[in-house]
């Protein structure tokens, strides 16, 4: 290394190499949080005209389905509640209402069903793509879970879910989509309590 030119070359080369190597480790965005990033339901986010149509088609609020639900919780729910036309399933169902979101739990032999509805969604980062090979009508997506099947779909501007959870992992109802899809197909009963009726312009 007596020749300063060669030494300079090596230094320059090493510098370039280091820069190139470090470029392999691209800077990563700092951990981000999204407080308040939840998108509130825009005015008119719920398709109330459609929901009222659904309400009329399912008996105008006189359907026996859902009568067993806690009426105080139903009345505070500000989105249309969607139920499967299955009196046996809904007979002992329990509703937990957060106003803009509800969750209903019902028992089956060896399994349970959960039904939820909300008009709120959180936007995903632009770079995050959803790998969904089979999106059906009403944005129906069925996902296999650890203990069952989770279906979500959008109707009346509301994101609804129907989920089946089995006690035994090997329960055939949870191993295929058949049951949960039938649950979605049977979800035709619209129930609106006071808050939803007010929001729909029906009065309380």
């Amino acid at each position: 290394m007596r020749n300063p030119k060669i030494r300079a070359l090596i230094v320059a080369g090493a510098t370039l190499a280091a820069v190139t190597a470090s470029a392999q480790v691209a800077p990563t965005p700092a951990p981000s949080t999204r407080p308040g990033a939840t998108r509130p339901p825009p005015p008119g986010g719920v398709d109330w005209a459609g929901a009222v149509g659904g309400l009329r088609q399912s008996g105008g609020g006189n359907s026996p389905i859902g009568r067993g639900l806690d009426q105080a919780a139903v009345n505070k729910t500000r989105v249309p509640i969607l139920l499967p036309a299955d009196p046996d399933l809904m007979g002992g169902a329990r509703i937990y209402s957060f106003g803009d979101y509800y969750s209903i739990t019902a028992n089956l032999s060896g399994a349970r069903v959960s039904l939820t509805g909300t008009a709120q969604t959180t936007p995903l980062p632009a770079g995050s793509k959803l790998n969904l090979p089979n999106v059906g009508p009403e944005q129906l997506v069925v996902q296999r879970t650890v203990d069952g099947q989770l279906a979500s779909f959008v109707r009346y501007g509301v994101l609804y879910t129907a989920e089946l959870r089995c006690d035994a992992p090997s329960d055939p109802r949870c191993r295929t989509e058949t049951y949960v899809r039938s649950l979605v197909v049977r979800s035709t009963v619209v129930v609106m309590g006071k808050a939803a009726r007010q929001a729909a312009g029906l009065g309380a």
Partner: protein
């Protein structure tokens, strides 16, 4: 004449440097934990205070939470590595998305989907893989025990999107682990409390699952799997505050024992774009790891959940 020669030498040096980098001559930054502090328990080190290794029980599912015929729908591939972002004062943990080698491709976005998450264990705990770690069905053959010290040591490791046959649309293949596996402070079941991640209502209880729905928008759904179900502190319909005891970490799995761990999921309604460009809303699984790291940092700093 000299310029091309200099350029050629620079290229050769650059190539040599890159080969050296990829061969680990300069260390392996992407496989190093984000941060390790004094007092951290390192892999292979002693068990934490009070940790008592139990004789291994048979693990019916190898920790996979999946029936054998449904497992491994996708061939595991090495994850795309992301560089670590050291955070001062944090504990030893690998970056989000940096899964164990050959266990799948991690989800790389660093969003904390539950920014105010209450760390779901009352004690310390270790986030890592049940399947690809020691004692797991796909774990190292020379470490057959789930109570191996490496499972009860820092650094933490993400395992959302780890290769599984379950749907997980945010994962590269559309399938993968739907949550984060977390081992309690010691390899002792029915001892360590699992707590509520935020204020909410227990909306469902299964034979090995407890579901907590958050009271505040966007009403995240937290799922806790494998607690001791006959010793729970809550019932369906219970209104809980962040940090309230729910139950004790165990290995309940519908009659088939799994490893002693808690599978922790965060779900929510999201709006995004599918890989084929369609706008879609769905209720799905979100990566818990970044939120857990932040929550554990807060816990270590003595910040209360409520």
């Amino acid at each position: 004449m000299r310029a091309p020669l200099i350029f050629l030498i620079l290229i050769i040096l650059a190539v040599l440097a890159l080969v050296g980098y990829n061969s680990g001559w300069f260390g392996t930054p992407s496989s190093a934990p984000t941060h390790t502090t004094a007092g951290d328990i390192l892999p292979g080190g002693p068990l934490p205070d009070g940790a008592t290794a139990e004789p291994d029980e048979p693990v019916g599912d190898g920790g996979a939470e999946q029936l054998p015929d449904e497992a491994q729908a996708e061939a595991p591939v090495d994850p795309v590595k992301t560089p670590d972002v050291p955070s001062a004062g944090s504990f030893g943990h690998f970056a989000a998305g940096d899964l164990l080698p050959k266990s799948g491709s991690g989800y790389l976005d660093r969003t904390a989907w539950s920014p105010q998450l209450c760390f779901p264990f009352a004690d310390d705990a270790f986030a890592n893989s049940q399947v690809y770690g020691a004692g797991g069905g796909m774990g190292p053959k020379d470490k057959p025990s789930q109570c191996d010290a490496s499972n009860y040591s820092l650094p933490w490791r993400d395992n959302f999107c780890e290769s599984r046959g379950h749907a997980s649309p945010l994962c590269a293949t559309g399938k993968g682990h739907q949550g984060q596996d977390i081992r309690p402070a010691t390899c002792k079941k029915d001892k360590h409390w699992v707590v509520a991640a935020e204020d909410g209502i227990i909306t469902d209880m299964g034979t090995y699952t407890v579901t907590l729905t958050g009271s505040a928008p966007p009403h995240r759904v937290y799922r806790y799997l494998h607690m001791r179900m006959n010793q729970l502190a809550v019932k369906e319909g219970a209104v809980v505050k962040a940090g309230d005891n729910l139950g004790k970490a165990s290995n309940d799995f519908g009659g088939t024992p799994t490893t002693i761990h808690m599978h922790f999921e965060i779900r929510s309604g999201v709006a995004g774009t599918s890989t084929d460009g369609k706008a879609v809303k769905l209720h799905t699984f979100l990566p818990p790891y970044q939120s857990l790291v932040a929550a554990y940092d807060r816990k270590r700093a003595g910040q209360a959940c409520q």
